[in-house]
């Protein structure tokens, strides 16, 4: 494997990890807003219990992602920085309001409602904007001016492909997070919340799948090169749909551990993650070697080899050192029965 390919694989890994974590994070923010007035089911409590300790960690991954782009592909960073100025700034502004108000909502009781609404709504727009980076790199909206590039905003915001991506991002954020929260609430012994999230997941799953089809349909018209390359891996795409079906079935299976509820959410979560992994592998593979079609490739953007090796070494060492920290964190918040089953988290 060439070094550039290795680098882009690491980058793709970060994108994948971030997209799962961010989906959870933004989705949990939305649900904690959506069920704010239905305190009986504890759905808001469950969402907050997940969200409070994790948002900082999730946020670090978006920084890691940006840093990975400019430290491994500084050549691409130039073009990306230029064309993403406006969408990037919009994301930053919303992300800032969202994070700050999320934190403030825990401290200003009387204003909790308003603050939760602002952060919940901002949080659900962000995935739509974040995913727009993908259609932008397909090249159809980027214009060359002299040496540099600019983004044609008008063309972007009249493109059906862009809107299918946005719709997909929002629906799958809500889908994945409700699925994960259903698992979380099952572990937390909150059957009412579990039923709510399981129902939401069952509605949103098919919606997300539909949006994925919409992306493929519009892609065929707007970025033919990518569509054709993805279709080369049609068998894998079908396997990915298969995993989606498995996760659907898992929600109807009888529960092995609890009698009062139905479904195996843990299995459903794992199946959906595999589904996303396969689908994004196919997408990523088809996208190569272009970072921004057709001018920037992974080779043309690649950093100095000496720098890459040093950076890569820090990845290995860094994650080796941090791994026990992650395990400890996981055991404190995802696994600890005392934390999960406490009667009251926010008072």
């Amino acid at each position: 494997m060439s070094e550039a390919l290795l680098a882009v694989t690491v980058l793709w890994g970060f994108v994948f990890i971030y997209s799962v974590m961010a989906t959870m994070d933004f989705g949990a923010g939305f649900w904690s807003m959506f069920y704010l007035n239905k305190s009986k089911t504890k759905a808001t409590n469950i969402a907050n219990r997940y969200l409070s300790p994790t948002w900082e960690v999730t946020n670090t991954f978006i920084v890691a992602l940006v840093v990975a782009v400019y430290s491994m592909f500084p050549g691409a960073a130039y073009t990306l920085g230029t064309i993403l100025l406006i969408p990037g700034s919009a994301i930053l502004l919303l992300l800032t309001l969202r994070s700050a108000f999320l934190v403030f909502s825990h401290n200003a009781e009387d204003y909790k409602k308003a603050l939760t609404y602002i952060s919940g709504i901002a949080g659900i727009i962000i995935p739509g904007l974040l995913i727009s980076v993908l259609p932008i790199t397909h090249g159809g909206f980027v214009e060359r001016v002299g040496e540099g590039h600019t983004l044609n905003m008008e063309r972007l915001f009249t493109s059906p492909n862009e809107y299918s991506f946005v719709a997909f991002a929002i629906s799958s954020t809500l889908f994945l997070s409700s699925l994960l929260l259903s698992d979380y609430s099952k572990t937390s012994n909150a059957p009412d919340a579990y039923r709510v999230y399981r129902r939401d997941a069952m509605i949103l799953g098919p919606v997300s799948l539909l949006m994925a089809f919409a992306i493929m349909l519009t892609l065929q018209r707007e970025a033919r090169w990518l569509y054709d390359r993805m279709m080369d891996d049609l068998p894998l795409l079908l396997v990915s749909v298969g995993f989606f079906v498995i996760s659907g079935i898992a929600l109807f299976l009888p529960s092995l551990t609890k009698k009062d509820v139905k479904g195996m959410p843990r299995l459903a979560v794992v199946a959906v993650c595999i589904q996303y992994l396969i689908a994004s592998y196919v997408y990523g593979k088809a996208h190569l070697p272009y970072m921004v079609y057709p001018d920037v490739t992974i080779q043309s953007g690649f950093t100095d080899p000496a720098s890459f090796r040093a950076v890569f070494a820090t990845y290995v060492v860094g994650f080796a050192i941090l791994f026990p920290g992650f395990v400890y964190f996981w055991s404190m918040f995802m696994h600890d029965k005392k934390y999960l089953r406490q009667k009251q988290t926010t008072k």
């Binding site: 409070s52 300790p53 994790t54 900082e56 960690v57 946020n59 670090t60 978006i62 920084v63 940006v66 840093v67 400019y70 430290s71 491994m72 592909f73 500084p74 050549g75 960073a77 130039y78 990306l80 920085g81 230029t82 064309i83 993403l84 100025l85 406006i86 990037g88 700034s89 930053l92 502004l93 800032t96 309001l97 969202r98 994070s99 700050a100 108000f101 999320l102 934190v103 403030f104 825990h106 401290n107 200003a108 009781e109 001016v145 540099g148 950093t303 100095d304 000496a306 720098s307 040093a310 950076v311 820090t314 990845y315 860094g318 941090l322 964190f329 404190m332 918040f333 934390y339 926010t346």
Partner: protein, 453 residues
């Protein structure tokens, strides 16, 4: 404003805003750790309550520090793609390692806050130490990129291309160590004096119970002692930093001092305004020979003046004022904290006179101003270069247009954040006063407070 000026103002505004929260974010964990350790040592519950209340403040400030830091990180590549292309090739390591520092801080902060009542007190101290470590490490690492801008190393430019990259040589560039120390010491100084300000301000209130007054008194004493140590360290190391400038960026030092003619026995000029036309500092006080001595530890040291450089390479001359402001604040903080400690510990006086108390109140905002002066001096004093003698600021700016609207939007968001963070802190602490916490502590024991939210 022209394109470049807008980009510079926009980035400068972001940084000036981020740095307030970032610096307090480095300084406060140090104070929290000091209070936790004192609690373990003395078993005086007041220190546990202090650590608790400061943690609450820290968590709220993180709500602004983290997103604005994210803005800073992304805006670097949005506004200065030319700069980040060079950084990506040569100086990616600090950014990369910084991610691990952020992760350490974020993981253990959550554990310290949300799991406090489930872990042992030593585990809590370990978690807090890692938070403090993560914070100062992230500050040192990002400062290293700034150090590299002043003293680039680890590569050569040949026909406009970057060759012979040695990322670790870039990492350990000549000013790494001095800058890292200066930034860490000054951040701890800020942490200490911000606490001193708040405690002094609370003590000035009428009608406090003795118990509450005593609580603030302890916090004030702790912050004065740490404040003295760190402001003194900042000044000592500031001296090293000045010598570093003398060797590596002489035109910045010349602009800082308003020195036009190269000379030995150069004077140190305090205050005043540099006049480009007459080539002198108006209304300044000159201390003969002092600058030569500061720069090279001997009066014979030759200090290079601005006239030895082409005028288009001169930094803006107002940096003289920023430099003076920083040094003045440093000196003032040392004297103030030393006097405060002597007054109480050695002269054994019960209470401070009013004027003393007001000076304490002022010390926190002054320390923050010192940080702002220092950064703006260091960045503006490097102009017109973005990477000293290698990449000009003009070459590194984005080609995308219409920055003006974005600039306005960012400023609006910073204004909203600034107003709401102040509001939230006031709101929260009005409903959770020190006497509430003291009462609650008597009932349930320490760290019963932590479990909420």
């Amino acid at each position: 404003m022209d394109h470049l000026t807008i980009a510079r103002s926009m980035f400068g505004t972001t940084m000036a805003f981020h740095i307030i929260f970032a610096t307090i974010g480095v300084g406060l964990p140090m104070m929290m750790l000091a209070a936790e350790l004192l609690y373990q040592k003395t078993k005086d519950r007041d220190y546990a309550i202090m650590a608790n209340r400061w943690t609450k403040t820290f968590a709220v400030l993180l709500g602004v520090g983290i997103p604005t830091g994210t803005i800073a990180g992304v805006q670097l590549s949005l506004l200065w793609p030319g700069f980040m292309e060079v950084i990506g090739r040569v100086m990616a390591l600090p950014f990369q390692i910084e991610i691990y520092a952020f992760l350490i801080e974020a993981l253990f902060m959550s554990i310290y806050v949300y799991a406090a009542n489930r872990i042992s007190s030593w585990m809590r101290i370990a978690a807090l130490s890692l938070v403090a470590f993560g914070a100062v490490a992230s500050a040192i690492l990002i400062t290293n990129v700034h150090a590299f801008q002043g003293t680039p190393a680890g590569f050569r430019v040949e026909d406009g291309r970057i060759v012979d990259v040695d990322p670790w040589a870039a990492f350990f560039n000549p000013s790494f160590l001095t800058s890292a120390l200066h930034v860490s010491f000054s951040a701890y100084t800020v942490g200490a004096f911000v606490i001193a300000s708040v405690s002094a301000f609370k003590m000035l209130r009428r009608g406090l119970s003795n118990r509450v007054y005593e609580f603030h008194q302890k916090a004030l004493m702790l912050s004065l002692i740490l404040g003295l140590i760190f402001s003194f360290a900042t000044a000592l190391n500031g001296h090293d930093t000045t010598q570093m400038l003398h060797e590596t960026q002489p035109e910045k030092l010349a602009a800082a001092e308003g020195l036009f003619e190269t000379q030995t026995h150069a004077p140190l000029t305090i205050g005043g305004f540099t006049d480009r036309e007459t080539q002198e500092v108006k209304f300044g006080i000159e201390i003969p020979w002092a600058l030569s001595f500061l720069s090279g530890n001997s009066f014979d040291t030759k200090v290079v003046g601005l006239n030895d450089f082409p005028e288009e390479y001169w930094p803006p001359l107002f940096v003289h004022t920023l430099f003076n402001g920083m040094v003045f604040i440093g000196t003032f903080l040392i004297l103030l904290s030393a006097a405060g400690i002597v007054w109480r510990k050695f002269l054994k006086k019960e209470k401070y006179p009013k004027i003393f108390m007001w000076a304490f109140c002022l010390s926190g905002p002054l320390a923050v101003a010192g940080i702002e002066f220092g950064w703006i001096f260091a960045c503006t004093g490097r102009q017109p270069w973005n990477i000293y003698r290698i990449l000009s600021t003009e070459e590194s700016v984005t080609t995308a247009t219409n920055l003006g609207v974005l600039f306005i939007l960012f400023v609006i968001v910073y204004a909203i954040l600034a107003a709401s963070v102040v509001f939230v802190l006031l709101y929260y602490f009005k409903r959770h006063t020190v006497s509430d916490d003291l009462a609650k502590d008597e009932k349930h024991g320490p760290f019963s407070l932590n479990s909420n939210s």
